[in-house]
């Protein structure tokens, strides 16, 4: 495919994402007009407006963008790895491991950075467990990986229920918000954005190999792909992306499943296009979802995972119904 036909959809998606971000920093419990927002973003406005937008809303918006992008790219990678269009970043029990890590930290009464670190550790532990167990005595097939992950995920689910049952009622709301995905404690978006950009730059040259891998490991090997190292790399990248996203925003569902799906329907299956498109569209979508989450029952906030699930479930069912 010529480069121009790859760049055009990406430019459109980038534009949509920017618009989404401007909307997101403009609305909230104290709404601002577009002109004022742009003035603040370019260095003007009152001190209050500066604080509101630059210190509060912009970091949160960027966090939402990074989370959505990370999850969508991780989903697209997992789908190629498992050669299963229904795979998503959480299907291998990653979010379960992260949730158990985060909830244990909350149960112990700590907050902030420790919860994030614990979530990240939980996600990586879940990754290693699934990988080691699925590898077993040799064969490492997608179906075996998928089954191991699904079974592990229900194991994590049981642990989560156990922790919730043992938790004093006063601490439950924070835990439930975390489980549904919530950006209000996201912290600084910088590291996640850097990881997102780095991974996008890294996977672009791998895109064609991924296209070939999508046709099965034997065909890929016959066409000159070193299948096993490539599969390890995708698995590792997808795990890091997911763990980073989960650490920032808890388990936000459906972005990793629905965004790659929608893009594939519109843009085809060239991973060189789909992966960067996922970063942009996933980011843009979560920015809008988070904006909605902030205003629907303002001044109260909804966990953003509720919005993505409410949008994601019907969209996904519709896609499934339409697919042959």
């Amino acid at each position: 495919m010529p480069l121009s036909s790859t760049l055009r959809p990406l430019l459109v998606l980038a534009l949509i994402s920017i618009v989404a971000m401007v909307i997101s920093v403009s609305i909230g419990s104290s709404a601002m007009e577009l002109g004022q927002t742009l003035a603040v973003l370019t260095g003007g406005g009152t001190e209050l407006q500066q604080t509101l937008i630059l210190d509060l809303r912009l970091p949160r918006t960027l966090s939402a963008f990074a989370t959505g992008g990370l999850l969508a790219v991780a989903g697209a990678l997992m789908q190629v790895l498992l050669r299963n269009p229904l795979a998503d970043p959480y299907v291998l029990g990653l979010s379960g491991g992260a949730a158990v890590g985060a909830l244990l930290a909350m149960l112990a009464g700590v907050a902030g950075f420790v919860v994030s670190g614990s979530a990240f550790a939980g996600a990586m532990l879940a990754t290693l467990l699934v990988f080691g167990l699925a590898h077993g005595t040799g064969s490492w097939t997608p179906s075996r990986l998928l089954l191991t992950g699904v079974v592990m995920a229900s194991g994590w689910g049981a642990l989560i229920t156990l922790i919730l049952a043992m938790t004093p009622a006063s601490r439950l709301p924070g835990m439930l918000y975390w489980l549904m995905g919530d950006l209000s404690h996201a912290g600084t978006p910088g590291p996640a954005l850097i990881i997102l950009v780095l991974v996008c730059l890294l996977v672009f040259p791998l895109g064609r190999s991924l296209n070939v891998l999508a046709r099965g490991p034997m065909q890929a090997a016959a066409l000159g792909v070193s299948v096993r190292p490539l599969e390890w790399l995708i698995y590792l990248l997808a795990s890091i992306l997911t763990a980073t996203a989960v650490t920032m925003a808890g388990s936000v569902g459906f972005v990793g499943l629905v965004v790659p799906h929608m893009l594939r329907l519109v843009l085809g299956n060239d991973q060189r296009l789909i992966l960067p498109a996922c970063a942009l569209a996933g980011g843009g979508l979560l920015v809008l979802a988070d904006a909605l989450a902030r205003v629907v029952i303002a001044p109260e906030q909804l966990p953003v995972g509720v919005i993505t699930a409410l949008v994601g479930v019907p969209t996904f069912l519709y896609l499934l119904y339409r697919s042959r």
Partner: protein, 255 residues
Amino acid sequence: MTGLTTSELIIDIPGRPSGQPLNLCVEPGQVWGVLGPNGVGKTTLLHTLAGLHQPRAGQVLLDEQPVTGMKRKQLARHLGLVFQDRQDGFPATVLETALIGRHPWMLPWQMESRADLELAEQALEALDVIHLRDRLVHTLSGGERQRVAIATLMTQAPGLWLLDEPTNHLDLHHQVATMGLLTGQAAAGNVVFMCLHDLNLAARWCDHLLLLYPGGEACWGPAQSMLVPAALEQLYGQKLVTVEADGAPVFVPAR
């Protein structure tokens, strides 16, 4: 031009005695057919030759170099394989499918060039599927998909063509057209090495044959010396009647 040799090669089929080692010498310009009953290891042999399956013993050599030691990408420039089964994964068009044949020739960040596109279109034209170029592969018939797979190999343009049952699902006309195309490739200096079910296609188009027997025995050589009714009857465990038609022997199963 590239030739393929095997030295004391024993393919690895679990639970089967090793049998007779293969010492094949396949040279450019030759069309080889592999014949044998179901489960005898024809596909395993092809995969072993392509370096996708470890042999139990012996070596496969491509220009004196063992294929197991070569980089996959380097190997894919010399050797290509049409599989018997294909996995579609995600929907892709016929043209996209043929274009992945260029993969071993491109650098990681390269996009397909005009020349790559032309190669793919020529291959689709040669296999009579160019009119389907924008169709999704999984919506095609079995025979059309088979031709797209061969077109992908042609786009890959290796010197060594390995094909597992290339005439599967093909109607009579396309069987003949495909075999004609493959012998043409051999005449142009490539190697064609294929597993076949149809004894008569093999007799008609192959100049060399390898017969794989269930017990692990094998014999190989020029087609005329291999097409002995008694040997073929033993191969398939089936009585045959031989008739001469159009200048070639035709084998018909006896009732």
